[in-house]
Subunit: 143 residues, 2 copies
DNA sequence: GACAACTGTAACGTGATCGGTTACATTTGC
DNA sequence: GCAAATGTAACCGATCACGTTACAGTTGTC
């Protein structure tokens, strides 16, 4: 599995927006904080817009802002907004139906993988964006 | 994030070994059940061997078998054996240290991501290989 | 001891994906 | 009208996983 920084960047971007509390931030400034290209940020913002986490205005002095309070945005929502696929997938080729294990393994595995994904999101749901920003502001909280 | 069937294939392979209960199975036969190439299976078996989940003998009539009872192998162990990287990674480029958020976001995020990974493994730890094989044998258990 | 079966491993191709970059049409505040 | 910003397409390059072929080494069987 390729290690993926997409989720971390998404939280980073949202944290900057929360930090500015209401002021619109351009993709240019966001990309400067993340240290990447504005287009990368805009592509990410598209996903966050689709999930109704941010709003974007065009034109000069415009940019993006949170569409609701940071306290009401959980990291699970962020994760769902930007993940491209589930953590676990089934292999593309179907197993051999002649084999008693191959014939049934995927059906057996499916609920197991689903429960693992659910556990992951349940954990992320414990954290709000506001808590992240608060910890950024003053180190060493919530041990 | 690229959806990855490696974990599912690993469980599949181990399930076949558990199904044979003691008989050594060649990578040829395993690959026939998974419907892939023997070399893919052998590479996977290397990871499972490193994790002390299987043992392998060379020569004719040889192959691999479980190194302990299927009841004592949890899916969390399988996951740890074959994952290449953590579910979440940090982006390769470091954020901008001039930005108050960029300067601290990664340190704040790190324990959050770690707790999510832990939750994932804790869920997988609930399942043993023996339960998987049992469900393969007789459908519709453990609703 | 020869043979055949099997593993371990290297080498290489390939297709998919992702981050990055440039470019440009479009929107909009001033 | 102008300048600033987004939305989006096109393309490149690196990386990675899977697949395939090939071959040396190991070992049970005759």
């Amino acid at each position: 599995m390729r290690s993926n920084g997409r989720f971390a960047v998404a939280v980073h971007v949202l944290a900057v927006l929360a930090y500015q509390d209401g002021d619109a931030v351009s993709s240019q400034r966001l990309s400067a904080s993340v240290n990447t290209n504005p287009v990368i940020i805009r592509r990410l913002l598209l996903a966050l817009k689709r999930a109704r986490l941010v709003e974007t205005r065009k034109g000069p002095r415009a940019g993006s802002r949170l569409s609701r309070s940071a306290a009401r945005i959980s990291l699970a929502e962020v994760y769902r907004a930007v993940r491209c696929a589930e953590v676990f997938g089934l292999p593309c080729r179907k197993p051999n139906g002649e084999c008693p294990v191959g014939r049934r393994i995927q059906a057996v595995l499916k609920p197991v993988l689903a429960s693992a994904c659910t556990a992951l999101e349940r954990e992320l749901a414990q954290w709000s964006l506001a808590e992240v920003v608060e910890t950024v502001r003053k180190p060493a909280r919530r041990g």
